[in-house]
Each structure stands twice: as structure tokens, then as C-alpha cells.
Amino acid sequence: MPLYDSASSSAGSCSGSSSSSSSSKPPPPPPLQQDIDGLLAVAGYKIRSSELRQVAQRLERLETAMGNSPADFSQLASDAILYNPSDLAAWVDSLLSEFAQPPTCSSEFIPGPVNNGSTTAESHTPPVQQNITYEQRTLDNQLTVVTATEEDSGIRLVHMLMTCAECVQRGDFSLASSLINDMQGLLARVNTVCGIGKVAGHFIDALSRRIFRGIGGGSVGGGGYAFESEILYHHFYEACPYLKFAHFTANQAILEAFDGHDCVHVVDFNLMHGLQWPALIQALALRPGGPPLLRLTGIGPPSPDGRDSLREIGLRLAELARSVNVRFAFRGVAASRLEDVKPWMLQVNPKEAVAVNSIMQLHRLLGPDPIRNSPIETVLNWIKDLNPKILTVVEQEANHNQPSFLDRFTEALYYYSTMFDSLEACRVQPEKALAEIYIQKEIGNVVSCEGSARVERHEPLAKWRRRLSGAGFRPLALGSNAFKQASMLLTLFSAEGYSVEETEGCLTLGWHSRPLIAASAWQAVAEAGSSAACVG
């Protein structure tokens, strides 16, 4: 099935481009950015015209130095950690300074993600292969062959879905419902085991829920939701690499941020089963100079059945920490919504180095109206007040929060069909089936919910960049070592077709060149006093 890219905003180098549906020209850049060399910007490099000469000179110096000691240069290539190649001036400078001072230690690593919450300590070898419960996909020809007529039906389905969504947007529900009937008929003729048929089925369901049951939320929400969603999350974690990538990349950045600190505190915005933390605990255990005291505050929904599930997870993590001699303390904060959390609940100690970790949580704070003191602003403000060493943010790389329903629908159709496509590579059941249900619920929320019920308000990286910068955070670039390890992780755990990309200091994971999830790291802009930057 062909992959289409829907209305995504244009390349990151173009500032101020809107993500609206019209192909409008981007607004003129602010005066400072007009000095940016336009031709190099299009090639992916940000550099001011006034700096060109200087950068040219430094390139020459590098070249001469390289000619004089080629051995050092190739050492540089394998050892140095490089950041943000788009910022050409800074990049050339960092190479020059690396060259002047050879790196003192090889880049750190983190043990790869593990399949269950507790493991025994591992020796410091590269990501381990024990505990893998599914085999890698081999390039095989067991994939279903799509016949020409099926492909045609698939395209017709897509066409009808778009038309139906347009009817819904217009309010023409009678036409929309007859289209639903037609599509369900067509679906019978299409292979729904894989490809467009499977995804289309979910979108037809979501549309019909929207039409027939109204936009109150359908099956989303309700008492058993939290428990069910944890199980689905766990299987989504196992079936495809998106969450592993998120955890892995965030952990790498957190580890670097905690360098040199003896008391560290991680605040996790969504603990789930605590899948992210064993790897960090182990990495801290292996830190040269010994592990710090680690506090973990895990936020999660209250358990419906009276169990203190947060505490249970904390206990398991504590056991692991004890087994690797890391002093560890856990605290659970139960809150049904992130915006209900108040900073005093986290009990952050001013002497600690704090890391705030948000894996696909911030978008839930984007309320239905852009009101003043919206939840996102409130939360970002108190994060800033905690003065964390690092804020790690992972979000779906999608534009699912546009005002126009049709635009959202189109974008979601493309995004989720790509994600489903990537899931084809997973051969393990029931992981795959449950992962699909996990994704299906997301689709349901994006398509059939509105107002406060619609929580899956994904926004693309460019928007998050603007939002976080505007809220007083500056980006911490994720470097070439994080990139390399993420790439290696993929080869170990996943099928071919996934790709990691670096874009202006952030890393994205995508399927066949379409980024699906983006990881970035931030730090509050310091007021008075210095905070140890962890770049370079």
C-alpha cells in the first residue's frame, strides 16, 4: 500500500509556517532571522550571512588540522559526541574544540530495555539479548499479496472515508451514515487482515460512533479504563519500538543531565508499569564514581479497585535498585488528570537534581479552548519553578489538534495507517493484537471525541518547540551518541523500515521516512545562578 504524507507542515527550517490546511505562504520571519542565508537554510543549515566568512575560516582551520594529524581526526569521528548539525557555526566550533582537546571518555551507554519490570543486574555489555520474547522479522515473502482489485478497493475506501468525514464536518449526517453503510459493504471485499483494510475498519468505526452516538466519548473513559489501558500500553510497548525508543532516548538524556550529581530526583508524568526505569537504575548503578541517591516520583491514575498499584510498582523498582546497590526511594502520586497535580505533592528538595519526564502526556493538557491559564501553561510554569536539570518530552509526531475536523481526520488516517503498517512486522501474539487495540483507542479518541473528552491532542514537534520556548525553556540538543544508540536499539529489536532521524537537536523515530514519534530535551532558562549545562 502506498504511503501518503498528508497535510504536514513544511521543513523545519522555515520559521513560522502554520499547520493549517491552506497552502498559505509562511508569515515573514522576524527581523533577526532575515539575516539567515536562505539558500543554506533550504539545504538544512541555519547560519547567518554575516557569519559565513567566519565559519569558512574555521572550516579551513579544521581542514589544515585534519591534514596535519589524520589519525586524531578519525579518532574524533568515533569518539566525539556531536550535536545539532543544522547549527553550522556551533557545529564547526565544537569540532574545533574537540580537536584541540581530545575527548576524555567514551560515550556512555544504557543497557537496552527489558521485557518485564524486574531483572537481575547485568554486566556492562552492550544491550542484552536475553529476555527477548519475539523473533526479529526476516525479510520474507509471507506477507499477503495485494491484488490489483484489492488495491483499487482500498483506494476507493480511502476516497469514501474522506468524503464521509467531509459530510460529518458539514453536518450532513444522513449522507454520512449512508456512506458508512457503503463502506462497510466495501470492507467485506477488502482484506482486513493487513494494510488499508484494517486501518479503514477502525476509522469507519470511529466515524460511525461520532455520527450515531454523538461526541461524548463512546467507549473512551469509564471506570475500567485505567486498568485496561495499562495492559494495552504494555503490549504496545512490546509489539513495536516506539515506547522503547521514547524511554531509551529520554533515559540517555537524563543520565547525562545527572552527571556529577549525588542526589537526583526523577518525576515521571505517567508511571504505568514503570517500564522506563529499570534501565536507568542499572545505568546509574554502573556510573563511574558510583550511583547517586535516586528518588522517583511516579504519577498515575488512582486504582479503581482499591489497590495501590503505584506503590506496588515502586516496590518492584526498589527491589531492583537494592539488587544493584542503588539507594532508592519511591513516591506515588495518584491523580486522574495531570493538571490536578500540584508541585508540593512532588516534594522536591532544592538540593536535588531534578528530571521531569513526560512520555506522551503533555498533549493531554491542551484543552479544548485556548483559554488563559490553560492546563498546559499551569503545568509548564510549575515545571519551570522546580528548576529541573532536564525536561524530557516525547510526543506523537502528528497534527491531530487542528480546528478543522476534516484536517484532523486526514492527518490521522495517514498517521495511523503508517503506524499500522509498521506493526505488520510484529509476529508475536497477543502483543500485536492488543497493540492494535491500543492504537485503535487512540484513533477513536482523535476522531469521535470532542471537547474535554478528546485528550489525544497531538501536535507536531515544530509546535512543541514554539510552545516550550515561549514558556521559558531552552532546548538541550540530543547528540550523535543518543542517535547511534537509538539506531542500534532498532536493529536489535525491530524490523527493517524503522528510521531514526536527527532534526535540530531532537530525535524522531519513524516508519519508512515518516516520523511518528519525536523526543526532545529541555531546560528552564536560568534566572540567576548557573545550572550545569549538559551539552558537549
Partner: protein, 340 residues
């Protein structure tokens, strides 16, 4: 040694605009970091450093793009660029493969450069170039994300090119109204130019018509050290040593540069006399150290009675076609639009 380096750098800076110099020097620097003396390649760092752009179904300057997986077995992706039509300024998802409207629509299959090892179809510089070609030639451009060396040696890149050619030829939506056939041109720069030649060769006995080849600074070579290689070694961004490295990385192990992939009119080449080979437009830069091989290629085509036009840009260095800030760029773009 340092002194002659300085002279080289200064000379080189005189002939290109400053931003071009910075761009190409930066590539040179990055590429030096990536090639290891033992013949291996630092692929992770290469992907980290490569500036990429996503496809964009929203037209920008009248061109929109989308990616298609054309072969699952090899994960072969192509990026397709199409002109946005006046009536449908913004195509929706179902209409990306709408049939082409005009009597005659050229379809240019483009192979990006990178000496077989670097770059991708979604590299920013090549995304830009392909978009330009759409407007210039009123064409659909299909940019092939072929497998690269040294992980994938000869003939992988040619195989992928051939797969793409077959795929393009069999798309009903790419057929021109006039004769219900797909009007195919092959184009590429550096290694992409080499690939275009070899894919055209493979097409000869296949029944697929290639209407023309466009080769921009195509990458050819041979065992012999030619005059231009000796004269220009290290002077304009490129060294013989790096050229040798890339050939060692692409050609089958143990083969030398007289292998027909590298030297199509050399001792191991195939004669093109009497063969129905497409007409060729070959652009050679006057400061490219491998120009003697490129000129020999043009001669080889002529001697075999094939139609070929040579554009020799005296004052041009490699990569001049990446930024539209020089006369060579505009001259070449004009010629390309006339050729197609």
C-alpha cells in the same frame, strides 16, 4: 604540505560563492569523518549528520511530494514530486495518485548523488533539486532511495534503479494521454548519473522505452590516472584518495576500477554500437577531477553512434547545481528543460 593546502583552499574559494563554498566544504569535512581507512563507513553518524526533509502533500511553490514503498523486500522507497494543478491546489490523500492530466507528461526518474555511499532521497539538497525539476520540465519526478555502499555493493544500486524503472513504467496514472505510455527520462548526479547510465543499459532489451538520460557530473573512473585527476587532485573539494575509497566501497571486492560499472567504455565495457540507447545530456564541470573519464564517456557514446550532447561548464566545481547562485546553474537548468 600545509602551505600548498592553503593555496588550494584560496583558489577554490575564488571560483564559487561563499555560501556554496561553506556548504560543500562542510560536506567534505563531514564525509571525511565518515570514511574509515579500513573501508567501513560510519553509517550512524552519516544518518545523524544528513539534513533530511519530510515529504509534503501540501504544495509548496506549486509542488507537492509523497513517499511510496515500491518494494517491500528491499524496503525500497521513492519520493514522488508532482505539480499542483490550478483546480486542485491541495490534493487529499486519495488523490495523490490521480492520473496525470496532460497530453504529454515527462516522468523523470532521479538518482541522487553521494558517491554511492552518502545521501538519501529525502536529503534536503536533493529534495530541493527534484522540486526544481518539476517546475522546470513540467514533469513528475520520482526520486529513488537506492541502497548504498559499502553495506550494499554493486549491483544493488542498479537493481533498485531497475525496480524503480519497472514500477514507474507500470503505473497507469503516469501514462501520458497522447499515447497511454509513460514518458520516462533517467537523471542523476555523481553516482546517480552512473546509475542512470546502467539502468538505461538494462532497459535496452526489455521493451521499456527510456526517452533520455540526464547525467550531471556523472561518476565514472578507471585504473589509469588521467591528466585531469593528477592536475586537480585535492584542488576543488575532491581528492583522488576519496574517489578510490568510494569505488572500493561500491565495486565487488577484489575488482579494480576497470570494472564495467566504473568504466563503461573501458576494457570490460559493453559496446553500444547499433543499440537503441536513449539520447544523453551530459554535464561536466571544468574543475571536477574526474572530467577526463566523463569526457571519455561522451566520446564512447559518440563513437557508438549514440546521440549525446555535452555541456562543459568551464568554471564550475562539483555540486554547482545544488544552489541557484551561479550562472552554470541557470545554463544547465535551461538545457535540461529543452532536453525533456
Amino acid at each position: 604540505m600545509a602551505r600548498s593546502n592553503e593555496v588550494n583552499l584560496n583558489e577554490c574559494k575564488m571560483v564559487v560563492p561563499l555560501n556554496t563554498w561553506v556548504l560543500i566544504s562542510n560536506f567534505k569535512l563531514a564525509y571525511n569523518l565518515l570514511r574509515r581507512p579500513d573501508g567501513t563507513f560510519n553509517r550512524h553518524l552519516a544518518e545523524f549528520l544528513d539534513r533530511k526533509v519530510p515529504a509534503n502533500a501540501n504544495p509548496v511553490d506549486g509542488v507537492f511530494s509523497f513517499d511510496v514503498l515500491i518494494d517491500r523486500g528491499t524496503s525500497l522507497l521513492c519520493r514522488i514530486y508532482r505539480p499542483a494543478t490550478a483546480e486542485e491546489p491541495q490534493p487529499n490523500v486519495a488523490e495523490l495518485e490521480k492520473p496525470v492530466a496532460a497530453e504529454v507528461v515527462p516522468v523523470i526518474i532521479f538518482f541522487h548523488g553521494g558517491s554511492f555511499a552518502h545521501s538519501s532521497a529525502n536529503s534536503a539538497i536533493y529534495d530541493t533539486l527534484c522540486r526544481r525539476l518539476v517546475g522546470l520540465c513540467k514533469a513528475v519526478v520520482v526520486s529513488v532511495n537506492y541502497r548504498r555502499a559499502p553495506e550494499n555493493r554493486y549491483p544493488c544500486a542498479y537493481d533498485d534503479g531497475w525496480t524503480a524503472l519497472k514500477w514507474v513504467n507500470s503505473r497507469p496514472w503516469l501514462q501520458s494521454q497522447k499515447d497511454s505510455k509513460v514518458h520516462i527520462y533517467l537523471a542523476g548526479d555523481s553516482s546517480g548519473g552512473n546509475i542512470a547510465h546502467h539502468v538505461a543499459l538494462r532497459a535496452i532489451d526489455s521493451g521499456i522505452d527510456v526517452l533520455g538520460n540526464i547525467l550531471l557530473n556523472p561518476m565514472f573512473g578507471g585504473q589509469e590516472r588521467t591528466e585531469s585527476e593528477q592536475r586537480l587532485d585535492g584542488k576543488y573539494f575532491v581528492t583522488l584518495r576519496d574517489r578510490d575509497w568510494y569505488w572500493r566501497a561500491y565495486l565487488p571486492e577484489g575488482e579494480d576500477r576497470d570494472h564495467h560499472a566504473c568504466n563503461p567504455f573501458g576494457p570490460n565495457g559493453r559496446s553500444l554500437e547499433g543499440i537503441n540507447f536513449p539520447k544523453s545530456l551530459v554535464v561536466v564541470a571544468g574543475f571536477d577531477l574526474i572530467q577526463d573519464w566523463q569526457l571519455a564517456y561522451v566520446d564512447g557514446l559518440k563513437k557508438a553512434g549514440q546521440e549525446v550532447k555535452l555541456l562543459y561548464m568551464e568554471q564550475a566545481t562539483i555540486g554547482f547545481y545544488l544552489l541557484p547562485n551561479n550562472n552554470h546553474f541557470h545554463t544547465v537548468m535551461d538545457e535540461i528543460s529543452k532536453f525533456v
